[in-house]
């Protein structure tokens, strides 16, 4: 019995030493980055960009990435842990609009600066936010679709997890955009939960339910759109005639735009949301003399002394003409 049990403890120790950073310098600024889920491409890009921030690379700042595993309970637990760990600042990508609020309020009460990035929270007590304007994104993809279907047509829309701020906002934007074009009709909409596999299944079903009736596919993120494209290819749909338009600008989507499978993707600049957040956090920790180090502040966005409450990250529209520049 001692054998088995201590064996377990030994495995625990060795695996931990594999992944842990034991030599933590005491003078570094420590920031916790709460990703909402590291299994998806965008968040992985986000956390990688954060770790590539100039201040981190110089060794002045230490980042610890927490994986929220798409579960708001886990994120709430992780904020508790981050507060216990006495991090200097917290950067959070909140998975759920409502469920993230109590955790952020708690951090605010503990006087730890919280920078909200990538998704919105219903809490008003965060220190600063740096997020793309999802509503504007929704409106833009609707407009781009209208441009490509001047005589109108039937559309299908794939949505993110219902209740997440990105889904709520992008949908509102799409609805607003479509309202301006009465010749575009929404045949069906459903949540694909940001997943390529679910997007593929959804599209297969829609192609059976509406044979030859779908003129365009809108998706609130690239992963689902890429799944839809697979389904369309399998059903021999001519992708040059049925535009697929989505949001995020992940590498696979940029490739798809390059070879004509996807018409447009809106580039969500992970570096802006990630590294911008680090700069905002450092502004809080270091003070007014801090000058932002990420290149995203050289033209893409205005620093405004780093004390604005909400920073909006602009979208970049990528289509066949300009996608190569951003590959």
């Amino acid at each position: 019995m001692i054998n088995r049990r201590t064996f377990i403890a030994a495995i625990a120790a060795s695996t931990m030493l594999l992944g842990a950073d034991l030599a933590a310098a005491q003078e570094k600024i420590r920031i916790a980055a709460l990703s909402f889920g590291e299994a998806g491409e965008y968040m992985k890009a986000w956390s990688t960009e954060i770790q590539n921030h100039p201040a981190v690379k110089e060794g002045k700042v230490e980042i610890t990435v927490f994986d929220g595993k798409y579960d708001p309970l886990i994120q709430a637990n992780q904020i508790d842990t981050a507060l216990t760990q006495q991090f200097n600042a917290i950067i959070m990508a909140p998975f759920d609009l409502e469920a993230s609020a109590p955790a952020i309020d708690k951090a605010a009460e503990a006087k730890v600066p919280v920078i909200v990035s990538a998704l919105k929270t219903s809490s008003k007590n965060y220190t600063a936010s740096i997020i793309v304007d999802d509503r504007e994104g929704g409106r833009i993809i609707a407009e781009e679709m209208a441009k490509r279907l001047p005589s109108g047509g039937n559309l299908v829309l794939m949505e993110g997890p219902i209740g997440q701020s990105a889904q709520i906002e992008r949908r509102a934007g799409v609805d607003a955009g479509l309202e301006a074009h009465s010749n575009l009709k929404l045949l069906a909409d459903k949540s694909g939960n940001w997943s390529r596999a679910e997007g593929q299944a959804l599209m297969e079903n829609w192609l059976s339910a509406y044979p030859d009736q779908i003129n365009g596919v809108l998706a609130e993120n690239d992963e689902m759109a890429l799944g839809a494209i697979e389904a369309m290819k399998a059903a021999n749909v001519d992708l040059s005639k049925v535009p697929v338009i989505a949001i995020d600008g992940i590498p696979d989507a940029k490739r798809a735009v390059e070879n004509g499978e996807m018409a447009v993707t809106l580039y969500k600049y992970a570096r802006a949301e990630g590294q911008g957040a680090v700069d905002l956090a450092l502004r809080q920790v270091i003070g007014a003399e801090y000058k932002p180090q990420s290149e995203v502040w050289n033209g893409l966005m205005e620093w405004k002394d780093g004390t604005q409450k909400d920073y909006v990250v602009p979208w970049l529209i990528l289509d066949k003409d300009n996608v190569k520049k951003y590959m």
Partner: protein, 328 residues
């Protein structure tokens, strides 16, 4: 082991009690050792691990899984399994939340009863399928996993229910005498469960049925009722866990609880309860849940990538089951 089981089912009261206590004690002792070893390890690696604050976090973070695991222990003791607990959590949480949203405010007690009731009803459905209709537990609860999730999505239309009243939220974030409410609930459930399993006839019958169903039936125990009852208990506790989860996240999410059955089963297995029934104790489950919570908490404190965390958790579960096989 069979001799021990026979003694439990048919020995004199004092023989029975001695056998129980001996079994419990040996099991608990070794798992407590492991838990302490892990704590010592983390304390040496991180300065914040042994703080009161962190311990409260750790206990609170282990509570929901702990409540689930206690229910699952009953089922596994009878050689069954319940894969539907995650979905039941979401369904129960949804039912509870609906009664306490702004605009539809009822007393929180109705919420609690709704959550427990939902869990118990699904548990009963599982129990009937498994004990009366003889569907294998894996299949029955797998089906129920999908059905309960489907019901949750239908009922909520895929949308979360937020704006919960303060009294419900208190269940997730409140403190009594300095201890978080979820922790108090967890310990209360543990106490009641432990007393049931070790001090009541029902508890003895659960072990008997799990150890040797035929022998139990021939000695007059109504095995089908016992088995069904364990699923009702499991469902009820899943409902309770769902209530606490909803209170903690201040919203009932239709995707809540996905995959939670795995951590619950892991806690039970690591705690020494055998998947082939008849052997195990809630003390083991308690520490199994604490071990999982400690590993999650400790590794987060250390900044270990979640990819390694998953690897480790899986390895521990497999090791625990292997060790169980060896012991047989």
């Amino acid at each position: 082991m069979n001799a021990n089981i026979t003694k439990i089912a048919t020995g004199t009261p004092s023989e029975r009690r001695k056998a129980e206590i001996t079994k419990d004690f040996i099991k608990s002792f070794s798992i407590i050792l492991v838990f302490l070893a892990i704590c010592v390890l983390f304390t040496s690696l991180n300065q914040y691990f042994l703080t009161w604050n962190n311990w409260l976090n750790l206990l609170r973070q282990s509570s929901i899984n702990g409540i689930l695991a206690i229910g699952v222990t009953f089922v596994i003791l009878t050689k069954g399994i319940d894969l539907s607990v995650g979905s039941v959590m979401a369904l129960a949480g949804m039912m509870a939340a609906n009664l306490v949203t702004t605009g539809n405010e009822h007393l929180v007690i109705w919420s609690i009863l709704a959550a427990l009731g939902t869990g118990a009803v699904v548990g009963l459905a599982n129990g009937v399928l498994i004990a009366r209709i003889n569907v294998p537990p894996f299949v029955a609860t797998l089906g129920m996993l999908s059905m309960a999730r489907g019901l949750t999505l239908i009922y909520s239309d895929g949308r979360p229910i937020a704006n919960l009243t303060a009294s419900l939220r208190w269940i997730g974030s409140g403190n009594v005498l300095g201890l978080p409410v979820p922790v108090l609930i967890f310990f209360a459930v543990f106490l009641i469960g432990w007393l049931t399993l070790s001090r009541t006839t029902f508890g003895r019958y659960v072990y008997a049925v799990g150890g040797n169903e035929k022998a139990a039936r021939t000695s007059g125990i109504s095995t089908r009722t016992i088995i069904a009852a364990t699923y009702v208990i499991c469902g009820l506790l899943a409902g309770l866990a769902g209530l606490v989860l909803t209170a903690r996240t201040t919203a009932a999410l239709p995707q809540a609880g996905i995959g939670y059955e795995l951590d619950a089963i892991a806690a039970v297995v690591i705690g020494g309860t055998s998947l082939s029934g008849g052997r195990g104790s809630l003390v083991g489950t308690l520490f199994g849940a604490l071990i999982i919570g400690t590993i999650n908490n400790g590794m987060d404190l250390m900044g270990v990538s979640s990819y390694y965390q998953q690897l480790l958790k899986g390895a521990i579960i497999v090791l625990a089951v292997i060790a169980d096989q060896i012991r047989k």
